[in-house]
């Protein structure tokens, strides 16, 4: 059990004709007819048609999904979250353990895997917590969970504050050669902040979360990772100084992967002026300079993964004054279109960098099978339309929640079909 998916219906058998097959990892960029038989890609043959304005991409892999199960199934559950993932072109997602109860032992993890086996529309891998109950005091049952198939460990939602515990966690994870996915935030520096600290927070009168709260903790975590030769993945990087720390640690030989979210790559704290709680997340939307640094780092491959930090919240919780509302936004169903439209179309990031960061690189970061469009491979792919512009409409999302920061955005890159683990997981009505 590394990643689990339900065996719904028959394996897919179909031919996807005349799309531009784009799979940088397999070295393919050509118009082709792709034949899938019983869930396996059996032929990738040159297309004879005139082209369709469609891209066939390796399916996406999300390293940072909150499925809210167990505990808040009113916001999301394994069925709805994986359906939302399929609608976004994802074939594998990694569920964060900050649920109620916390995924801090093998029994909880196994019970979730059991649900996934009957309900998941795409593969679900589970991340175990680093500390018991996310309390930051004692290590969780990391080895039991590793044996049960955990792909990484994380106390996401909060930092591992105790440096001694963090060191012990690196050592424990290394026993099974697994990475720690770290939410880096110095809580004393973050204080009671609700948005980025800067000119906008000063003008609005909202308490700020300084970039230093993140970058100081990133630097500390990387020093410990380096010393322990641990595998480390920095979750939701939001500012330039964190990138500098990652660069320095890599130069010193640390094994670091990192992720940025679509919202941090595309939005800034200017959006918070609307005081719409759908622009409230942690880390917060930063200033334009930080956003540009993230985009440049993605283009250069320094940010090797894009993750959604898909964080569903009930409507009534977000429907409150900004300071009262909880942190977090959903992202599975908008990630590719907003990134394609916002970064690839204007030429800021290559399609290759985007697809690699959404598929191959995250798969490698957590030792998951990397989706590939090649003969003999299990079909894990998505078909997207890059011609027609459409509106991002959260009310039409398959997620149970609606708290999107991209509501009302216009985008291209609609996902038309997702085949995950050899089965058709999602098909858009437009197809």
């Amino acid at each position: 059990m590394t990643a689990t998916v339900a065996k719904r219906g028959a394996k897919a058998t179909l031919v996807i004709r005349d799309a531009r097959v784009f799979d940088p990892a397999s070295g393919v960029d050509a118009r082709a007819d792709v034949t899938i038989e019983k869930g396996i890609i059996t032929a990738v043959a040159p297309a004879k048609g005139k082209g369709t304005g469609r891209l066939l991409l390796p399916g996406f892999v999300d390293l940072h999904t909150h499925l809210r199960s167990p505990g808040r199934e009113d916001e999301e559950d394994i069925a709805s979250g994986t359906l939302a993932a399929a609608a976004g072109g994802y074939v594998t997602i990694c569920a964060m353990p900050n649920t109620d109860p916390v995924v801090d032992n093998a029994a909880v993890m196994a019970s979730l895997a059991e649900v996934a086996e009957s309900e998941a529309h795409v593969r679900v891998a589970f991340i175990g917590s680093i500390s018991r109950g996310l309390k930051g005091e004692h290590l969780s049952d990391m080895w039991d969970m590793a044996a049960a198939g955990a792909v990484a460990f994380s106390d996401d939602g909060q930092p591992v504050f105790d440096a001694g515990l963090l060191r012990a966690a690196f050592q424990a994870a290394l026993t099974f050669d697994l990475p720690l996915s770290l939410h880096c935030e110095d809580l004393d520096l973050a204080g009671a902040g609700v948005m980025n600290e800067g000119g906008v927070s000063a003008q609005l009168g909202l308490a700020g979360i300084p970039c230093t709260a993140e970058s100081a903790d990133v630097a500390r975590a990387l020093e410990i990772a380096l010393y322990e030769r641990g595998r480390v993945h920095i979750a939701h990087v939001s500012c330039a100084r964190s990138l500098a720390a990652i660069r320095a640690a890599r130069e010193a030989g640390a094994a670091v992967t990192c992720e940025a979210t679509p919202h941090h790559l595309l939005l800034t704290d200017e959006a918070v002026r609307r005081l719409d709680a759908n622009f409230k997340m942690n880390p917060p939307l930063r200033g334009e300079e930080d956003r540009q640094a993230l985009v440049a780092a993605l283009a250069a491959g320094e940010i090797d993964c894009i993750a959604t930090d898909h964080a569903p919240h009930a409507g009534q919780e977000k429907e409150a004054p900004f300071e009262e509302a909880p942190f977090g936004v959903i992202g599975l169903e908008s990630a590719f279109p907003v990134l394609y439209t916002g970064l690839v179309e204007p030429g800021e990031v290559s399609l290759e960098a985007l697809v690699s960061a959404m598929s191959t690189n995250p798969a490698r970061a957590f030792n998951l099978p990397a989706p590939a469009i090649a003969e003999g491979e299990e079909a894990n792919l998505c078909l997207v339309d890059i011609d027609e512009e459409f509106g991002i409409e959260p009310e039409r999302f398959l997620s149970k929640s609606r708290n999107s920061a991209f509501a009302g955005s216009r985008a291209r890159g609609r996902v038309l079909m997702t085949i995950a683990a050899g089965r058709t997981a999602f098909k858009h009505e437009k197809l």
């Binding site: 000063a202 609005l204 009168g205 005081l275 300071e323």
Partner: protein, 319 residues
Amino acid sequence: MNRNLLSINDLSREEIESVLGTAAKDFLELSKRDIKKVPTLRGRTIINLFYEKSTRTSTSFELAGKRLSADVVNVRAGSSAAGKGESLKDTTLTLNAYRPDIIVLRHPHVGAPAFVSRYTGAHVINAGDGKGEHPTQCLLDIFSLQREFGDLKGLKVAIVGDVLHSRVARSNISGFKKMGMKVILVAPPSLLPRGVESLGAKVAHSLDALAGMDVIYLLRMQRERHEGANYLPSMREYISNYCVGRRHVAKGQRVLHPGPINRGVEIESALADSEENMILQQVEAGLAVRMAVLYRIIVDNAVPLAAGEAEVRNIQAVG
């Protein structure tokens, strides 16, 4: 005036002059009469919805409404359904069902008045939202200064003290600048918000900066928000460096304070009792200005939604 007063930036300079003209012409003298009441807003309903403690703001809004003959209802959140966990949206929808004409809101969170305005057809007046804004305080301060100095253009004002936690500072920086004044903030770095330069005011860290000012605007030290934060080495040291006394006030300078004052913290007791301060004029102005705001927000919105037609817009998603 627009249909709501959420921020001082909802008003242009001309509108500020116009509203304050109404306060001066129609309402300032009223308080000095034996019969302090006019029938202007008879039949109108005003709900004062206060989620935070307040003396002068709530008193003056209540008196202002009553002297205009409106029916005024005061709702204190601690003693209402809001204290039982009702959301701000539901409290608003409930109060809106009574078809009020105006809701005056004091709330501990920034943007709460704008939030409330989405769920009611009533005019919403911000009476202080967290560290955000306090537009009627700003109006009454401008009013008080105009009565003292006449035209405010070119006047220099120092805003002194706990800028970090002050909604008054945020509204007044904008409002004073709008009136052509030059604003300097005087506070230790820890009591200035990061990014303060984007507010368009100069910054100084010493009371030496008070020399050459026309107006010294003191802010209340919000000690209740300082617990455990180490903003200051100690309050004693703050006082020895930043407490403003008569010796800091030059001839011709005037001292304002939005109240409540902390004697011996931001203002020496002797200064609080001296002729150099305008604190009680500010309180008096507050009543006339709030009467003008209540009156004008009704009459300026020429076709006010009749009671019974109160429109509840967009009850669904935010944004």
